[in-house]
């Protein structure tokens, strides 16, 4: 957004002959100064630009993360750390770890074991610094009646005394990290893409907030910050990643990144660590000895809406 708009203003200025040119041409008696209307329009547009952008000039000229050089990345991380320190009063780590060689992340969820306790939802919110109000939760736990798989009959607002309830089963849905992801194809500015290790990420600073990706995603795996996100300072997670859980701003899209700040350093995602029944499994699809490979090889698995050819790397399975 920042780049495009700056070039627009250049062409706008070029349309009119500047005042000093007229002076230099020798016509001193009648200097071709901009009339009052033009001047006001120009001043208003400049002021408006400043007001709307509400960002530092470094942020304004910042490049797409994929095109940044090492120095640019370092400068950006420094700037972000300064900004977060100012805003939240805490020292942040903004990681930029790249993909690990020979890894393709996959996820499996045992829908027979899931009891619908929503512990994963809240672990995810805390780990990934999601806005509490307005509420953003990357994981939706759907409750289905036994034998029914129609999404229109499912609910996410169930609230019994105790789970699991008789006659129901639960299916958590989050970003499916598709190998053929429709969301990355529709982005007009390429602010979202699939990393080498299979994680679909967003460059929040490059996102223009058009929400095409949200319309394209058949799993409702993306969320938009309609308001300035509100994160309680005492529970904010200061271990972050540039493409992951660093605090977001208003008007950008965000999504599950398999906890990129955790998995890129070898840890399990937060939802896997919290699940009390061990229904969530995570690992490297390219490693034949990983849990996920064994599940895909030996268990009954299915992928959500496989008829859409999105090829998710998120598998649902039945352990027995």
């Amino acid at each position: 957004m920042r780049k495009n708009q700056s070039s627009d203003t250049d062409s706008f200025a070029g349309d009119r002959p500047p005042a000093d040119q007229a002076i230099a041409s020798g016509d001193a008696t009648r200097p071709d100064l901009p009339d009052r209307r033009t001047f006001l329009a120009g001043a208003a547009s400049v002021l408006g630009m400043l007001a709307v952008s509400s960002c530092s000039w470094q942020e304004f000229v910042q490049n797409n993360f994929q095109r940044m050089s090492k120095e640019e990345i370092e400068q950006t991380v420094d700037r972000l750390r300064r900004e977060y320190k100012e805003k939240y009063g805490k020292d942040f780590v903004v990681g930029t770890e790249g993909p690990i060689d020979a890894t393709l992340f996959g996820y499996a969820l045992d829908i027979q074991r899931c009891i619908g306790c929503r512990k994963c939802v809240y672990a995810c919110v805390e780990e990934n610094n999601q806005s509490r109000d307005p509420q953003i939760q990357y994981i939706r736990v759907l409750r289905f009646k036994d034998g029914d798989m129609d999404f229109e009959h499912a609910t996410i607002y169930y609230d019994p005394e105790e789970v699991p309830e008789d006659g129901y089963y639960y299916m958590p849905v989050q970003c499916q990290h598709c190998a053929n992801a429709p969301c990355t194809k529709v982005c007009p500015v390429r602010a979202t893409w699939t990393e080498k290790d299979g994680i679909v990420v967003v460059d929040y600073n490059w996102c223009i907030g058009c929400r095409y990706c949200m319309a394209a995603c058949p799993y409702m795996g993306r969320w938009f910050n309609f308001k300035e996100p509100v994160i309680p300072v005492e529970t904010i997670n200061t271990t972050t990643h540039y493409l992951g859980n660093r605090p977001r701003m208003k008007n950008v899209v965000e999504k599950c990144t398999f906890c990129i700040q955790r998995v890129r350093v070898g840890k399990y995602p937060a939802c896997v660590e919290i699940c009390p029944v061990g229904a969530r499994k995570f690992g490297n699809l390219l490693d034949p000895d990983s849990e996920i490979s064994k599940i895909i090889r030996n268990k009954r698995v299915f992928r959500l809406k496989s008829e859409l050819n999105t090829q998710p790397k998120f598998y649902y399975f039945f352990a027995t």
């Binding site: 607002y157 789970v163 029944v277 849990e291």
Partner: protein
Amino acid sequence: MKPKMLIPLVMVLTVGIIGACINLSDRAAYAQSREYAEEMKEIQAPTSEQEFPVPLRPLPKTITPCRACHGPEKDFPVNFKRREDILVHSNIRLNHGGIRLWCLDCHHPENRNYLLPLSDGKVIEFEQSYLLCGKCHGTIYRDWRDGIHGKRTGSWNGQKNYYLCITCHDPHNPRFKPMAPMPPPKKPWTPTEVRAKH
């Protein structure tokens, strides 16, 4: 002369070809057998506790000196008669496998500090109770070994912390306990008049 020369030549050639064929098939068979052996090795890989690092769960001090009561020194005879109420262990209400199981199906009758032995005669330590669980729940045990059943934390490409069977399932009452769910998500804002209609 010429035909006479040809016959041994043809014979040598045929013998050579047949020999080569036999040699080839031998090699194929050998390769197959080697593959087979490797496959078998994979299948019959020993499943010792060293194969995967399992943190041993420290047992509460109160239950380890079983021998204090159930031991040769105490002269407390082993009663093989099945009974429901055992006065001393009143805190344990067995709810595992219906009426098919009772104490001495898992606990060693002669040496109460251990669990019943595996088929090789080696008694099972309390810390390795998962070996005993696997005696009945073989498929689940296999899944657990592969990381499919149960929970693991730690590192997806390194050291993992395994949750044992008894971490989640009380062996005397193994059914997973229901729990209270976390609060549901907030419903999206809707105008009051619309809410009234729906």
